[in-house]
């Protein structure tokens, strides 16, 4: 169930739009911000707010890489899966992260902090291999750099529960 305050806020967002469905992505982002992912229940409720059918919202949700239809970790690591990164050792980056976190591609670490996913070119080709974690982009990845980034994130998470 979506919390009532969130629903009130979403209704306002939707009311401000010329046609409700143009706010579909914004609504899903708002919900994800709070709940981390879009559950089936959240999809059905969001669709109702937007005057769409769950299927119509699902068409959008599953089209975009940044809307999650299953639970993800606090940090979603998306390693670039396009040509330049392939050439520059993307495979090694993935293998390294996977073994460090002991998860396969698509998996979430046991502590619930990290999820590993592929993403298509993120425009960091000049700094390949590259990855995005939540909204930050990292290039020129080496094992050391990855270690640094991941430990930092894990530490931050311990402190405050937020970035």
């Amino acid at each position: 169930m979506l919390p009532d305050e969130l629903k009130v806020k979403l209704r306002e967002v939707i009311a401000a739009a010329e046609s409700p469905r143009e706010k579909a992505i914004d609504v899903m982002f708002e919900i994800q911000e709070l709940q981390g992912w879009m559950s089936d229940q959240a999809m059905v409720e969001a669709a109702e707010l937007l005057g769409m059918t769950p299927l119509e919202l699902e068409e959008l949700a599953t089209f975009y890489d940044y809307i999650y239809r299953s639970p993800v970790g606090k940090y979603v690591i998306k390693v670039c899966d396009s040509t330049v990164c392939w050439l520059e050792g993307r495979r090694r980056v993935v293998d390294y992260i996977a073994s460090r976190l002991a998860i396969p591609m698509g998996g979430t670490s046991a502590d619930g902090l990290f999820t590993l996913l592929p993403v298509c070119c993120i425009g960091y080709c000049d700094r390949a291999p590259a990855m995005v974690i939540n909204k930050r982009v990292f290039g020129n990845l080496t094992p050391e750099k990855i270690d640094r980034i991941l430990s930092q994130l894990a530490k931050n998470a311990d402190f405050s529960g937020s970035e």
């Binding site: 769409m52 059918t53 769950p54 299927l55 119509e56 089209f63």
Partner: protein, 827 residues
């Protein structure tokens, strides 16, 4: 008109024709997946590549995306294009499970055809195949996503063409998935078309699953006889059973598609289980008999009655599901033998409306469904297209997609799969609302429209002033004024007797106001038009027959393809009447109550076994060829029929009209009379149609230029006063659950929902009812229980109840039914 050259042959095509269609006119079928004439071009599959050698484009292009232009020179066989297509099909086949041997599409699969046409035979890609989880899509459609080639036909058909919103494209890239949000039955009552439209085996017909191979089937052009539209179908037979119905293209009627009721409602013909077992053996006094003896004793019994009481003691009844052959034979028998009838209608109002509609419909204002699609404004008056004639709702949607405003004036809480504005009004107000709408638009009627038009116009004006127009109406009057091709769709179910003529008058008046106005009636059944042609305005109805039986004037009743117990509003009275009869002779293919009670029963053949003619609601001849018939070898192969029976091979039953002919010992010169002879003898309009196969499968329209304005509409009955405290009970059709076909086809069971009674919000509040309550409604002949559905979209002062198979509504005694508020009790 552009002229172009395709594969060294020249052709001239209308402006806007795609190259892929231009080629088809030359008989060159360019490979395609995503392109479909009804859906248009999207260029999604890249399969239709051809090479443009000269003209405004050069090189390999998609022939479905390019309009034919002057001077184009196109090659479909150019090496570059051929190779392009070969690569495309190789790519599309990369993930295909190659499960043709267990796929129901096999043998009629566009993917198979195009794989061969593209010359792809060997898989080169060594990687794993992508696989999907399939969904449960309900009782009719099986889902096998691994076979998908991502052409988007299904989602475009489902969402854009039909307007339903629970199936569509999901995911992205190679994960593309076509399905629902979650498992569950498809909501669209047009879902069966997915089977036809998907070029692969993703959606297959569950009712036919694993039963057949395309090349084993006997196929014949047939016609759906489940509503008055008469959509074109292909009936697929196998071992003397109907296996599947497919849509057959007919430009004027159904286009490429069918509704699910028509597609899946055939199982009655194969015989069901238990009480639905199709009666295949003749019976005399409840005991099985041979066909000749049943026919002979019927003949004898009738002769006796005729001698004892005179021929008028014999009455004959048909129905709106009888073929024109049976109807005409009944009429001919009554004429020659002086029997009473034939009776085709159950009450005078149904007769009045059907006959009026048929008389009013003239060739100058009648439109086809194709023309509805092109209308720039559609008025639905007293009709529920989705339930009474489902494919008509799709035609209306096509008009709406081109921005035609859609206005509905009806007592029911209508639904259409498109945007529309609904005015919920009681039946007696439908004409008023129509008048208000039309009045403004006909102000500019031509100088001298003639006396009749002027008179109608004056009356229209007076009527439009009788009640205050609702606010939204004015805007639509303006739109109607500005429209060029408005169409009025008028029903004959809940309307008053004068309404069909009134609607025709409105259409004629719009015509006088320089519009290409059209008129489209919905009639009760596939045989309604024919029965109206054969009945005068004063002909007897079944109600009159019941009285005659009670008075002892009628001693024998011959009913052909007709079950009065399904339609007659007073079951108990009919039961008593029937028991008074000396003979009840029934000829039918349904195991109906009438058949149960018949003293002599003869099993008739169905539309699938007999050549049958229907005249659809726009007067168009629809001929259904038999797909399998007794005596004909089963082709191919020599397998015996699936069902073993005591019948002599080749001695299967006669169509109703032939049986009728025998029991009435009709004079015949050379064996069996031919329909092309006896139909014209009772319906002169048929005399011009020639002999032989009397008309093409998709026949002409049988309409005269038109009676002009008639005054039938002015014969308006007395209405109960405004202040009357009671409700009018309206019995209505539902797409699933009210027809005889639904009652006897187990294949439709899964689509039948519980009946409910619709009532207006204000009325419900006054009666203390809320949505979902169950009530008992007390009628003159007893009470029935039903759930309540409350809606603002239902007119006030009416109760809308389906003639549902799960509801014994045949206690209402007679029409119209008025119910005092106190007779509705919550339980």
């Amino acid at each position: 008109m552009p002229r172009l050259i395709i594969d060294e042959r020249e052709i001239e095509v209308p402006e806007g024709t795609k190259v892929i269609d231009a080629a088809q006119r030359l008989g060159i079928v360019i490979p395609r997946f995503c392109y479909h004439e009804a859906l248009g071009s999207v260029g999604a599959c890249r399969m239709c590549a051809v090479k443009f050698l000269q003209g405004p484009f050069k090189g390999v292009q998609m022939s479905c995306m390019v309009d034919a232009r002057d001077g184009m020179v196109v090659s479909t066989t150019d090496e570059e294009a051929v190779q392009f297509r070969q690569r495309v099909i190789e790519l599309l086949m990369m993930n295909h499970p190659l499960d043709c041997p267990v796929c129901d599409e096999g043998g009629q699969c566009l993917l198979q055809d195009e794989t061969v046409s593209g010359g792809h035979a060997r898989r080169r890609f060594p990687g794993p195949k992508r696989t999907y989880r399939d969904q449960y899509l309900g009782p009719y459609i099986k889902h096998e996503m691994n076979r998908c080639i991502h052409c988007y036909r299904c989602s475009r058909f489902y969402q854009e063409f039909c307007g339903y919103r629970d199936l569509g494209p999901l995911q992205i890239g190679s994960r593309m998935y076509f399905g629902r949000f979650s498992d569950g039955p498809l909501e669209s009552p047009f879902s069966g078309n997915l089977v036809d439209i998907c070029p692969t085996g993703v959606y297959t017909d569950k009712t036919a699953r694993f039963k057949l191979r395309r090349w084993d089937l006997q196929r014949a052009p047939s016609v759906c006889n489940q509503c008055s539209l008469g959509c074109a179908t292909v009936a697929n037979g196998h071992y003397r059973g109907v296996m599947r119905i497919e849509a057959r293209f007919n430009r004027d009627v159904n286009g490429y598609f069918l509704c699910d009721a028509g597609r899946f409602g055939f199982s009655y013909a194969n015989g069901g289980q238990g009480r639905r077992e199709r009666p295949l053996l003749p019976r005399i006094a409840g005991v099985s008999a041979s066909a000749p003896s049943a026919l002979a004793s019927a003949r004898e019994a009738l002769e006796n009655i005729s001698q004892k009481y005179g021929p008028r003691a014999i009455a004959a009844a048909g129905s709106n599901r009888s073929s024109l052959e049976s109807q005409a034979m009944l009429a001919l028998i009554c004429k020659t033998r002086d029997w009473r009838g034939p009776v085709f209608f159950f009450d005078p109002s149904e007769r009045g409306k059907t006959v009026a509609a048929v008389q009013e419909l003239s060739s100058d204002i009648a439109v086809s469904m194709r023309e509805i699609e092109k209308a720039d404004l559609v008025i639905v008056a007293g009709a529920d297209p989705l339930n009474e004639a489902p494919m008509c709702a799709l035609a209306i949607r096509q008009a709406a997609r081109k921005n035609a405003p859609i206005v509905t004036i009806d007592s029911r809480p209508l639904f259409l799969p498109c945007e529309f504005t609904h005015f919920p009004v009681a039946p007696e107000k439908i004409e008023h609302y129509l008048a208000m709408l039309v009045w403004k638009a006909v102000e500019k009627v031509a100088e001298n429209p003639g006396k009749d038009a002027e008179m109608f116009c004056r009356q229209l004006g007076a009527l439009s002033l009788e009640s205050a127009p609702p606010e939204a109406m004015a805007a639509f009057s303006e739109l109607l004024l500005a429209s060029k091709r408005p169409v009025i769709i008028c029903g004959t179910d809940v309307t008053r007797e004068s309404t069909p003529s009134f609607a025709a008058g409105c259409a004629r008046l719009l015509k006088c106001a320089q519009k290409e106005a059209g008129l489209f009636f919905l009639l009760p059944g596939a045989g309604s038009f024919g029965s109206a042609l054969l009945s005068g305005t004063q002909s007897q109805t079944f109600g009159d027959l019941v009285e005659d039986i009670e008075k002892g004037v009628v001693r024998a009743l011959v009913v052909s393809e007709c079950d009065p117990f399904h339609y007659y509003p007073d079951h108990a009275r009919l039961e008593r009447a029937v028991s008074k009869l000396e003979q009840l002779i029934a000829i039918d293919y349904f195991p109906s109550e009438t058949v149960e009670r018949a003293s002599i029963f003869y099993p008739a053949s169905t539309v699938f076994e007999t050549g049958s003619t229907y005249i659809n609601q726009e007067g168009r001849l629809r001929f259904a060829q038999p797909v399998h018939c007794g005596g004909a070898p089963i082709s191919p192969g020599e397998h015996p029929p699936r069902v073993y029976s005591g019948l002599v091979p080749g001695g299967d039953h006669l169509p109703a009209w032939k049986a009728l002919c025998q029991i009435a010992s009709m004079p015949r010169e050379d064996g069996v009379p031919a329909p092309e002879k006896f139909i014209p003898s009772v319906l002169p309009a048929f005399s011009g149609l020639g002999a032989g196969p009397i008309y093409p499968v998709d026949g002409p329209r049988l309409l005269s230029p038109g009676p002009g304005f008639t005054s039938q509409w002015s014969q308006r009955g007395e209405e109960a006063g405004e202040g009357a405290p009671d409700f009018e009970l309206l019995l209505v059709e539902w797409m699933f659950g009210t027809s005889e076909f639904a009652a006897w086809s187990d294949s439709l069971d899964a689509a039948v929902c519980e009946p409910h009674m619709s009532i207006n919000t204000k009325d419900a509040a006054r009666a203390g009812l809320s949505d979902g309550d169950r009530v008992s409604v007390e009628l003159d002949g007893g009470a029935f229980e039903i759930a309540v559905s409350v809606s603002e979209r239902t007119a006030e002062k009416v109760l809308v109840v389906p003639r549902h198979q799960l509801l014994d509504w045949q206690k209402i005694k007679g029409f119209p039914v008025r119910i005092l508020a106190g007779k509705i009790r919550k339980i």
